[in-house]
């Protein structure tokens, strides 16, 4: 049974780093790299072998209504692959980047705790357990945002921690209400019991969950903490936060709870649509005005999360396929863009686009991979962003919501405009950049090159033949709604 190891490996690595690394950075780095590599191999293996099956593991041998269970279906495996891939590249990128901030084993311990928390949220089948793992991931995230030890980083971490506290309290209240109504914390049992209950209860619980997890996903009215936290963190951590954390804690939990537990109530799907459309447009409008490259990227995260929410709200197979596909693509290209920003910050000593210059000669890998990522996020074929956006837009038209499709297209054009600004001022301007402060090493270049390649390769997921064993099982799990109950409880 490999299921518990997705939590055991990173958590064990975190404790081992603290215990035996002897405060030496190399041991810590080697241990965390080994753990991340093992997780990547395991998750890819699990995704390939599983082929639409659902694995259930009861912790301590306690059967389902009593004990805590871990559940791994296609959706969980898909998310695990995403988290492990980004974590691995992010660690490779960190090796040199973090040394330039401070050489510290604590960073690697916190990083592994972050991964353990996210993996736990993804594999758990128990509502309160999900809450606990979520807090583990958030603790590590708060500490990592403040890692640079400057006043504005502490301020961002404080803001993030307070917002995280509000959303956690809302989620805790929602869990209490659910437990009061169903006397169970296992998600599958809750889903079964809730079907016979008062619809008012679903409304009440759904509203609390929507506010709580919406804050974590940074959908537009709940976004205020994101630009500060994501732009203040060290670049590899920004990549983890923007690339996977808001998806594991926000989007994944929203999908799991609203589709598999609450059975996709129409009112909340409408809320997804509206939140998505508002996030797409306002996020990108706020992004265009930014001159700090990392703040610009952070605002784009809000806008891209909007696309995923829009796809989720359509309640069609095609829309959900688009949302799931965009989830993966956004993790790849947004992490790549944050690596680029980190490399530029390290090499040029600034994050302001106006102070940068043409770096195509000095930093060829950074310049070219950022071009790939910019085209990808703006939705230019043949890169992955194009295919997922097209899926979402076509699905919106098919579902009879042309207005939302139009908003998505407008958002995409504005995204293109703001990334033209990045390329024009930041990387490919006429004025050559000054001498580099620090050279960019092989590890950082390798991380960027791998993700740039993934931007191209992952568009293959849409090709018939490959789509059947990558996207389709995931969409089946989500659109199966109540099927989740049967596959977990087995009756």
């Amino acid at each position: 049974m490999i299921l518990p190891y997705f939590v055991i490996i990173p958590l064990g690595a975190a404790f081992l780093i603290v215990l035996i690394s002897g405060r030496r950075e190399t041991v810590a780095a080697a241990l965390s790299l080994a753990a991340a590599a093992a997780l990547t191999v395991l998750s890819v293996y699990a995704f390939v072998v599983q082929s639409g099956e659902t694995l259930v593991y009861s912790l301590g041998g306690w059967k389902i209504p009593i004990g805590i269970c871990l559940v791994q279906d296609a959706l969980s495996s898909f998310m695990l692959v995403m988290v492990s891939l980004i974590a691995l590249t992010s660690l490779i990128f960190s090796l040199q980047y973090i040394r330039h901030l401070s050489s510290d084993w604590k960073y690697y311990a916190l990083f592994m705790t972050l991964v353990a928390g996210m993996n736990g949220v993804i594999v758990t089948g128990d509502l309160f357990n999900l809450f606990v793992f979520m807090e583990i991931a958030l603790f590590a995230a708060f500490a990592l945002v403040a890692y640079g030890s400057q006043a504005h980083e502490f301020e961002a971490a404080f803001k993030y921690a307070v917002m995280g506290g509000i959303s956690s309290s809302l989620i805790l209240v929602a869990i209490a209400v659910v437990y009061g109504a169903t006397s169970s914390l296992t998600m599958a049992t809750i889903a079964r019991t809730l079907t016979g209950k008062d619809p008012f209860l679903v409304l009440w619980v759904g509203g609390l969950f929507m506010a709580g997890f919406g804050l974590k996903a940074a959908a537009m009215p709940f976004h205020a903490w994101l630009p500060d936290a994501h732009s203040s963190a060290p670049a590899p951590i920004s990549a983890m936060l923007s690339g996977v954390l808001i998806k594991a804690l926000g989007i994944y939990t929203l999908i799991r709870i609203f589709y598999n537990v609450l059975g996709a109530p129409a009112l909340f799907l409408q809320v997804f649509l509206v939140l998505g459309a508002v996030s797409i447009i306002l996020g990108v409008l706020l992004a265009i005005g930014q001159w700090d490259i990392k703040r610009l990227l952070a605002y784009h995260s809000i806008s891209q999360i909007g696309y995923i929410l829009l796809g989720m709200g359509l309640n069609t197979t095609l829309g959900m396929a688009g949302a799931v596909f965009h989830l993966f693509n956004h993790a790849v290209f947004k992490s790549l863009l944050f690596y680029n920003a980190g490399a530029l910050e390290m090499a040029l000593g600034t994050r302001d686009l106006r102070d940068m210059g043409n770096v195509t000669k000095q930093l060829p890998v950074t310049a070219h991979s950022s071009m790939v990522a910019s085209l990808s996020i703006s939705g230019i074929p043949p890169f992955n962003g194009f295919f997922s956006k097209v899926l979402i837009i076509v699905a919106a038209v098919q579902a009879g919501r042309p207005l939302f499709a139009l908003l998505a297209v407008v958002g995409s054009l504005l995204t293109l405009a703001s990334f033209m600004k990045v390329q024009r001022y930041g990387l490919r301007g006429e004025r050559p950049a000054g001498a580099l402060i620090e050279p960019i090493g092989g590890g950082m270049n390798a991380a960027m090159a791998v993700l740039a390649l993934l931007c191209l390769v992952s568009s293959l997921m849409i090709v018939p033949g490959i789509r059947e064993w990558t996207l389709d099982p995931v969409v089946d799990v989500i659109m199966g709604k109540g099927q989740y109950i049967l596959s977990v409880l087995g009756k």
């Binding site: 309160f128 809450f131 606990v132 807090e135 603790f139 708060f142 500490a143 403040a146 030890s149 400057q150 006043a151 504005h152 502490f154 301020e155 961002a156 971490a157 404080f158 803001k159 921690a161 307070v162 995280g164 506290g165 509000i166 956690s168 309290s169 805790l172 209240v173 869990i175 209490a176 209400v177 437990y179 009061g180 006397s183 914390l185 630009p227 500060d228 203040s232 706020l286």
Partner: protein, 112 residues
């Protein structure tokens, strides 16, 4: 019912404090109050009127018991709360060292 309403009121007091106060310490206190309200709600949900503690002893008849699970949950969530509060206090202290003030309206560097 009154208890639930009062509990909800406590939650709103905490939320109000977080949203309106300008002092870091008061924000931390307000976030604590909000956490207490959530914990109180969990305990209330497990509570039964005139029930006994949930332990079966020899020679004692089974009666209506309070639900023991929420009490276990509340212990976990109190520990999490403690961690969050400690982290917030640590961040507030470091902010004070940097800015020499607890007032966030005077130190705000991150806008929009």
């Amino acid at each position: 019912m009154t208890l639930y309403v009062l509990c909800f009121a406590l939650f709103l007091v905490g939320l109000y404090g977080i949203l309106t106060k300008r002092d870091l310490v008061k924000i931390i206190l307000a976030s604590g109050i909000m956490g207490y309200a959530a914990n109180l709600l969990i305990v209330l949900i497990g509570y039964r009127r005139d029930a006994v503690y949930p332990i079966l002893e020899p020679g004692k008849e089974a009666a209506v018991m309070v639900d023991p699970l929420p009490q276990a949950l509340v212990l976990t969530s109190i520990v999490i709360e403690l961690g969050i509060t400690a982290l917030l206090v640590a961040l507030a202290l470091r902010l004070y060292q940097k800015n020499k003030t607890f007032d966030i309206s005077k130190t705000r560097r991150l806008a929009g």
